[in-house]
């Protein structure tokens, strides 16, 4: 536990500093590096014919959707003709149509669900032009919409911020420099970075061995920083080349925790500065939300850790010496670094894995599944905070019903229309997961993917759709998911899970932005107290439990009872 505690202690100051920087980027404060960044940005604006005027919420989301659509078109086209393009030293073929559809939606929506294996499915050029490119742009999209959302919550007008400017600034000033730094650190630890072809060597026993190489480090860094999660190789961050040492493991974990946490800090600072608390680090409102997320995170972490530490009773039956469940885990990480990685990757909805989640003990696998079902424990870059804000509004609404006050947040009244949109945006998630899981269970094409017997088979299906809807991208990888059924259905779930939610959430922010700010009175519900944190956690767990408990009972809980009963 010591190593886990130390990593989390390092995280706190780092996320506060990054959050402060991100705030400066979002609010266009003057900074020392302007001399370097501004000429680059202005050249981009000029080349793309972008005017920097403020947009309404509607204009903002339309610009976002069209930009994403253009990228989807370019990416899809590239995958379909990759065989004939350059940088293909390992002679990879073109990608099939439904798999290309799934892959493009997956990477544009920041999900990174992978129904292909990088070693055999993508050329180096596709890894760069499609995967790395989309890892930057999907993360920047999530960040941009989150900033648009947060600014509107405290603004007095709906015409604020420009999508293109937010998008370009975060890539140039945050993602590119950080990705370069983290990438070099990973190379130092042993991650390859080359465009040479794979190596075939002769081992000391005279057999041949193929070693897959490529521009791995440049993908690996942005994969974590942008909470993307799609691996260069099939086995993702468990492969020694993607994650060579325990140092690289910790760098990758901190990288994926960095920006989702920093987005919460930015929100905290926005609120604090509106109330003239100029020297705040996180602000009272930010602290309430950060604390609620942390409580949920720590609870999940402890459960995974103890479940995995306990080991697998079916292995104990074999009469050998078991110290923790090591099937699907790497020796260099052991139980602790694997349990932490699993919790981080599903809480921050990155989806990278350093051990195989399909082989986690039932309860150890339930936690990542539940994290994705909640989708608010920090969550992916930008969007996680917006999801949590939906629960904040819901908590305020319920609390105010209980004490008989008019619900308002940051001085703005929450009324019927906002509540309708909010309820919809919370409901989309379970409808997608449970609806499609039910559909898969009813069809033979869906069942065909299941590879583990009994209750765990249902867990595989639930996990796949939860991962898609939460735009996480990890998997119970045993699922034979490269089929037309799975490619198309998960593609749709990822698409709706990302864009429908985003549109509704920004619409709520626009509605709130147009409202007058009411002065606080003695009767106003305080939303920046520890009491509110506890209430918020309770609401999240209650809604999550009520919605998903029946499905979880049939999957991991049944498996647990059968194995330990």
């Amino acid at each position: 536990m010591l190593q886990i505690t130390l990593i989390l202690l390092v995280y706190l100051p780092v996320v506060l500093i990054t959050g402060r920087y991100l705030y400066a980027v979002a609010m266009q404060e003057k900074m020392v590096m302007d001399k370097v960044y501004q000429p680059i940005e202005h050249r981009i604006y000029r080349l793309a014919n972008i005017s920097q005027e403020a947009m309404t919420g509607k204009q903002y989301i339309i610009a976002l959707l069209i930009t994403n659509a253009c990228m989807i078109a370019i990416g899809y086209f590239t995958l379909r003709i990759q065989q004939w393009l350059f940088l293909n030293p390992n002679q990879i073929n073109n990608m099939e149509a439904t798999l290309s559809f799934n892959t493009i939606i997956s990477f544009m929506t920041n999900t990174n669900l992978q129904h292909y294996s990088g070693e055999s499915g993508l050329t180096y050029l596709s890894q760069m032009l499609v995967i790395i490119f989309m890892m930057f742009t999907s993360a920047a999209t999530g960040y941009a919409v989150c900033m648009a959302f947060c600014k509107r919550l405290i603004a007095k007008t709906d015409t604020i911020g420009n999508f293109y400017v937010d998008f370009v600034r975060v890539i140039i000033r945050v993602l590119l420099p950080l990705a370069f730094l983290v990438g070099l650190l990973l190379v130092w630890q042993g991650t390859p970075q080359t465009v040479q072809q794979n190596v075939t060597l002769t081992t000391i026993e005279g057999t041949s061995q193929d070693i897959a190489l490529g521009p791995v480090a440049s993908l690996e860094s942005i994969k974590h920083l942008g909470t993307n999660g799609g691996g260069f190789f099939g086995a993702n961050s468990s492969t020694p080349f993607e994650n060579p040492t325990v140092i690289s493991n910790m760098i990758e974990m901190l990288a994926m925790m960095l920006l989702p946490g920093a987005c919460v800090v930015v929100f905290g600072l926005l609120v604090a500065k509106r109330f003239q608390h100029q020297r705040a680090w996180l602000g009272k409102q930010g602290t309430t939300i950060f604390a609620a997320m942390s409580v949920l995170f720590l609870a999940g972490l402890l459960i995974v850790y103890f479940a995995e530490q306990q080991g697998n009773p079916m292995i104990d039956e074999l009469g050998i010496a078991q110290q923790g469940s090591m099937e699907g885990k790497e020796t260099r990480f052991g139980i602790e670094q694997s349990a932490l990685f699993t919790t981080v990757t599903t809480a921050f909805t990155t989806g990278t894995v350093n051990n195989m989640h399909d082989s986690l003990t039932p309860v150890g696998g339930l936690v990542p599944l539940f994290n994705m079902m909640l989708n608010v424990v920090f969550g992916g870059i930008g969007v996680g905070l917006m999801n949590m804000m939906m629960y904040v509004l819901l908590a305020i609404f319920i609390a105010c019903l209980m004490i008989g006050r008019t619900p308002q947040f940051l001085g703005k009244k929450i009324e019927q229309k906002e509540m309708k949109f909010m309820a919809l945006s919370i409901l989309i998630h379970p409808v997608l997961i449970l609806g499609f899981s039910a559909f898969a269970v009813m069809t033979s094409a869906g069942i065909a993917g299941v590879t583990n017997p009994g209750a765990h088979g249902l867990s595989q299906i639930l996990y796949e759709y939860a991962s898609s809807a939460a735009n996480n991208g990890s998997g119970f990888e045993g699922l034979a998911d490269n089929s037309t059924f799975w490619n198309v259905t998960t593609g749709l779930v990822m698409f709706f899970g990302r864009y429908l939610t985003m549109i509704l959430q920004l619409a709520i922010a626009s509605l709130l932005a147009n409202k007058a700010i009411n002065a606080e009175s003695v009767g106003t519900l305080q939303t920046d107290t520890p009491t509110f944190t506890i209430f918020l956690v309770a609401i999240v767990v209650l809604i999550g439990a009520l919605t998903f408990l029946p499905a979880l009972a049939l999957g991991p809980i049944t498996e647990q009872l059968l194995m330990f009963g």
């Binding site: 010591l2 793309a48 370019i74 055999s120 070099l184 991650t191 190596v199 057999t207 010496a321 090591m326």
Partner: protein, 200 residues
């Protein structure tokens, strides 16, 4: 029209910056600053690579340390026609899957036959379970030590020599806190090979 042109142009510009300039610049810098790591940490005999220090290999000879179970056989093969192509991954057996017990039972029986002095209850489960990547080059110290009697008998090296080799290829926890104590099977076996060549 401008509504469509700007997004398209922006997409193309970002494609060039993030998809081409960034990875290629990183390749250039990595190749200059860390050429060994950037090319896969290859261990060479003369100028021919014989292993990567980070990627495990499948060993069958009794005088070599054996690594963990691999679903992809560490991408090693004797006949190219039988090789499914370079891959990574695990069996993805659920903890409750009977196939997991079957595989492990078979592997335990095989291990006991190869190591007749070993008691069943002493076999570390870690050695009998599959790694996540199928390419894990490491085992725990316990998993290495349990193989010492077999290696001594088959290699003609002394127990102290084998133990010294294992120790020399053991990495401690980082700062004494982070990670696990691991033995690198690949580099240990290269050392065993060198020691055997010296003895004969």
């Amino acid at each position: 029209m401008k509504k469509l042109l700007s997004p398209l142009l922006l997409a193309v510009i970002m494609l060039v910056i993030c998809g081409l300039m960034y990875p290629l610049l990183m390749t250039g810098v990595a190749q200059v600053v860390f050429p060994y790591q950037a090319n896969g940490s290859m261990i060479k005999e003369g100028d021919k690579p014989i292993a990567s220090a980070l990627i495990g290999q499948q060993y069958t000879a009794p005088y070599y340390l054996q690594g963990r179970v691999s679903a992809v056989h560490y991408n090693t093969y004797t006949n190219l026609a039988d090789f499914a192509g370079v891959a990574s991954g695990s069996f993805n057996y659920a903890p409750s899957n009977p196939a997991l017990q079957e595989r492990m039972t078979a592997d335990i029986a095989k291990f006991l036959a190869q190591n007749p002095t070993v008691k069943r209850a002493d076999i570390p489960a870690e050695l009998m379970t599959a790694s996540g990547s199928g390419l894990d080059p490491h085992i725990t110290v316990a998993s290495a030590n349990i193989q010492v009697p077999r290696i001594v008998k088959a290699s003609g090296l002394s127990t102290t020599e084998v133990q010294q080799i294992i120790e020399a290829n053991t990495t401690n926890k980082e700062f004494g806190i982070f990670g696990q104590v691991t033995v690198n099977v690949v580099t240990a076996n290269l050392a065993i090979k060198a020691a055997m060549a010296q003895n004969s």
